[in-house]
């Protein structure tokens, strides 16, 4: 009887019914430390000083108000796309289309900013932009939601395809035509600058009000899922379609509603990026896979709306830190590897939160002892 297979034979994995709070908070922290330790080995192997590298990382993303503002600003759209994915995935409706819905939200938001009278009071202007962005996201999601609800079309495919359509449309508006969005005064294709009344006010430095809006929305979505009858329906459908049908819950209506909420969140993210960061319809700055990253964030947050916020911030911190690491001579491949390592480790750590690992008493060993 060889030792290793016998040992594996004895490993018992049992799901935990209720992971404790300390476990939920402690395991991700330990995972982060484990990733940094493994990362240090890699850094040494590639000839970098791990202490200097980690200090640079920390300085760039979390040390001082400027660094924190940069990180939180970058986290803002990620919180929203993370929520968009989380709310839909909760019902096991896989909206992969936050990317495209975000573009459509940005297009609608910038259109309203440019089309409405410039001297409109800022609160009115901003409300119109955000609602317009949300509506555009809802409509774009609707192209996938309606067939899904009534014909059972696979939303993974339709939402994914619609992303490419939305990207092409946005590129066309700036690079492919002299559209309403394009600034005619410049020879290089660029979006028209939006008026000051359409720019989100700052909370501190370059951090804009959008971050607060995203956090408030996370709390609202959390409450909606947890405490409303709508949330009850979503959770039931997400757990078992058959149980939902048994309870008389209408799955098509819920599908439309959830896809609308998801699309609205992604659309708002687009409008907020235009209003708070790019200040014009800027395809290059918007098409940085904010929508797809949201899916990863939702998954790591285990689809918990409040969990989305810290995970988005962590990811934003890793990303903002990445640039500065390159500036001290760490190769870009190593930076990406470190980023992946941290994320992988935190995600994999979830296994230990939801499962208990133990060893079966050594029955097998006793049996084999005669050999």
């Amino acid at each position: 009887m060889s030792g290793i297979p016998a040992l594996f034979d004895r490993v018992v994995v049992t799901p935990r019914a209720q992971p404790s709070v300390s476990l939920r908070a402690g395991v991700p922290l330990l995972s982060l430390l484990a990733a940094l330790a493994v990362g240090a080995v890699i850094l040494v192997a590639t000839g970098a000083d791990p202490f200097e590298a980690y200090r640079t990382m920390f300085d760039a993303s979390l040390n001082g108000s400027a660094a924190i503002e940069r990180t939180l600003t970058y986290a803002t759209p990620l919180i929203l796309t993370g929520l968009a994915a989380a709310v839909a995935f909760r019902m096991r409706t896989y909206n992969i289309g936050a990317e495209g819905q975000l573009f459509m939200g940005a297009i609608a938001g910038s259109w309203l900013a440019l089309a409405l009278p410039e001297d409109l009071p800022a609160p009115l202007m901003l409300t119109a932009m955000l609602l317009g962005g949300a509506l555009a996201g809802v409509l774009w999601a609707g192209f996938a939601a309606v067939p899904k609800a009534f014909l059972g079309t696979d939303e993974i495919i339709t939402t994914l395809m619609l992303n490419f359509v939305a990207l092409a449309f946005m590129n066309y508006l700036i690079f492919g035509s002299m559209s309403f969005w394009r600034d005619p005064s410049r020879p290089v294709p660029q979006g028209k600058q939006i008026p000051d009344s359409a720019v989100l006010p700052a909370i501190s430095g370059r951090l804009h009000l959008g971050f607060a809006i995203a956090v408030v929305l996370a709390v609202l979505i959390w409450l909606l899922l947890r405490s409303s009858t709508f949330g009850f329906r979503i959770r039931t459908i997400g757990d078992s379609h058959r149980a939902a049908r048994y309870a008389g819950i209408g799955v098509p209506v819920a599908t439309l509603a959830v896809m609308s909420i998801s699309g609205a969140l992604a659309g708002v993210a687009g409008a907020i990026e235009v209003s708070g960061v790019t200040n014009r319809l800027d395809p290059k700055a918007l098409a940085i896979e904010l929508g797809y990253t949201g899916i990863v964030i939702a998954a790591v947050a285990r689809l918990h709306p409040l969990g989305v916020v810290p995970v988005a911030v962590l990811l934003a911190a890793i990303t903002t830190a990445g640039g500065s690491m390159q500036s001290i001579g760490v190769q870009v491949e190593v930076v990406v590897l470190l980023q992946g390592l941290i994320f992988l480790s935190v995600t994999a750590g979830e296994f230990f939160v939801t499962n208990r690992i133990g060893l079966r008493p050594g029955v097998v060993a006793a049996e084999g002892s005669g050999l």
Binding site: T229, F232, A243
Partner: protein, 516 residues
């Protein structure tokens, strides 16, 4: 074929296996030697599949022994069982569609890959196929094959790997009659070359027609055995379904009320099954207040489709369902519930309960959108917790903890939770599908008591169960379903168990029998 000096022999002694404390196989023994076909007969849930899985190395027995050629063996894995010459042909094929027949046959055997090896394999497969009349093209991809051909591939796979004992689990369930005949010809040839075959089935005719000896299982135990030639259908039926039922419970006080008006009426119902075939074929019957109507039948004869159609989870193509005087034929599950239908689905975890959600959530699955559980679209967690605690207490549901997914609870407690929810809500008729399946004795008894109480309180009960003894014990009227039709109806006290057993297995004339 290699011809061993002694014929292969397999003895199973007092094998036991429980799942979560519920015994599935509870002391079974039988033996088979090379050159014979041994039949394992039993109803669904009698423990046949669990027994086979232990012989195939998939499950480890809790106790008991498996003796192969005189040596007690521990089967650690399917690979281990295969290496010792035990080959299992499952009811659901385990083939890779996009691979060829030969590739499937050598799957898992790395040495057999590569072009040269493959040619050898194909030749050997062709040889075996010819030898046993299991014709199939070795280089054809599996997705092109018919169901019968796929089964031949499964059998060839086991023969190729040198199986000396072949276990066939319900092999004819998926076959057309002429394919079944071919299969049994092949089985005969295998036996003639010294193989031992274990034929697992719930069809009496098949066992009588094709085996040398039979072991009958009931509720995880041996319920009888014998040489096939000496057995009769009636004798087998008694072994399968039990002879303990003597009508003695007629002496117990029965319904307090004489049956009243119809509370559930099904008329000419026609329902299509999952595979597009007619699953329920012009079924008509009614359930009156103060009576339990039991539906007996081997599972898969349209019972599931029938109760799902009554509950509104499956649409019917023709006919009507009337609940407490309301025509509900076109209504959904929620409206039928409102009309007075309580429903205990067959699938406890998944339909009756949302498995990943906690008890509080599941207890208000029907009533969450009404007061006091919610107001203006917002849930009242206090009211929900109160209702949940009350139901848990009243129905003695154990093992529930706040926030814990109900899937961690035992089957008996899950069923009590469903009963608690369904019976506390307003209802006039209860449809219960396999309500005691997999429960331990105490939990099953608690469920039966609830059914009695429902009847005695003047409501109607429609009971579906694979356990014939239970149907006979509880019901005032017994309906027998076979191939989607109600083929018999017996009102107490004129219940003829032998006749019911024959009707269930399709052994009786197909003319509907009625003793009402």
């Amino acid at each position: 074929m290699d011809s061993p000096a002694h014929p292969v022999s397999l003895q199973v002694k007092d094998l036991r296996k429980s799942f979560y404390g519920v015994p599935a196989v509870d002391g079974v023994g039988f033996d088979v030697v090379g050159g014979e076909i041994h039949g394992l007969l039993g109803e669904n849930g009698a423990g046949k599949s669990t027994l086979c899985s232990m012989l195939a190395g998939l499950y480890r027995p809790d106790s008991g022994s498996i003796v192969l050629d005189g040596d007690t063996v521990q089967l650690r894995s399917p690979d281990d069982a295969a290496a010792r010459g035990i080959g299992m042909v499952y009811q659901h094929f385990r083939l890779v569609d996009s691979f060829t027949v030969a590739e499937n046959i050598v799957l898992g055997d790395a040495a057999a890959f590569g072009r040269k090896a493959r040619r050898g394999v194909e030749e050997r497969v062709e040889q075996l196929a010819a030898e046993y009349g299991l014709e199939v093209h070795p280089s054809a991809p599996v997705w092109q094959l018919s169901v019968g051909e796929r089964q031949r591939v499964e059998i060839l796979k086991q023969l190729f790997r040198g199986a000396r004992i072949l276990i066939l689990d319900e092999p004819t369930a998926v076959l057309a009659p002429h394919e079944s005949d071919r299969l049994f010809e092949a089985v005969r040839l295998m036996v003639a070359t010294g193989h031992a075959v274990v034929l697992v089935s719930h069809k009496m005719q098949e066992i009588l027609g094709h085996t040398d000896r039979v072991t009958v299982l009931r509720a995880g135990r041996n319920a009888g055995e014998g040489v096939t030639n000496s057995l009769t259908t009636a004798g087998l039926a008694t072994m399968m379904f039990g002879s303990t039922y003597t009508g003695a419970s007629d002496d117990e006080p029965r319904a307090l009320h004489t049956p009243g008006d119809d509370v559930l009426a099904v008329n000419g119902l026609q329902v299509t099954g999952d595979h597009g075939r007619t699953a329920v074929d012009s079924v008509s019957f009614s359930v009156r207040r103060g009576e339990i109507v039991g539906v007996a039948g081997v599972s898969g004869n349209g019972q599931r489709e029938l109760h799902e159609a009554i509950a509104g989870l499956r649409s019917s193509t023709e006919g009507s369902v009337t609940i407490d005087g309301h025509d509900c034929s076109k209504l959904g599950p929620k409206q039928r519930h409102a009309a007075g239908l309580a429903y205990i689905p067959e699938d406890r975890l998944g339909t009756g309960l949302a498995p990943g959600l906690p008890i509080e959530h599941n207890m208000v699955l029907r009533s969450f959108s009404r007061r006091p559980h919610s107001r203006a679209g917002w849930l009242s967690s206090a009211a929900i917790a109160k209702t949940s605690a009350r139901l848990v207490r009243d129905f003695d549901v154990r093992g529930a903890r706040d926030g814990m997914p109900v899937s961690f609870m035992s089957g008996g407690n899950l069923q009590k939770a469903i009963l608690a929810r369904e019976l506390t809500e307003h209802h006039e008729v209860l449809v219960a599908a396999a309500p005691t399946r997999g429960l331990d004795l105490a939990a099953a008894e608690a469920v039966r008591n609830h059914l009695h109480r429902e009847r005695d309180s003047g409501r109607g009960v429609l009971l579906f169960s694979e356990d014939l003894a239970e149907v006979l014990d509880l019901s005032d009227v017994v309906l027998v379903m076979f191939k989607g039709r109600v083929v018999g109806s017996f009102a107490r006290p004129d219940v003829d168990i032998e006749q019911i057993g024959l009707l269930m297995t399709g052994a009786a004339t197909d003319e509907p029998t009625s003793a009402t």
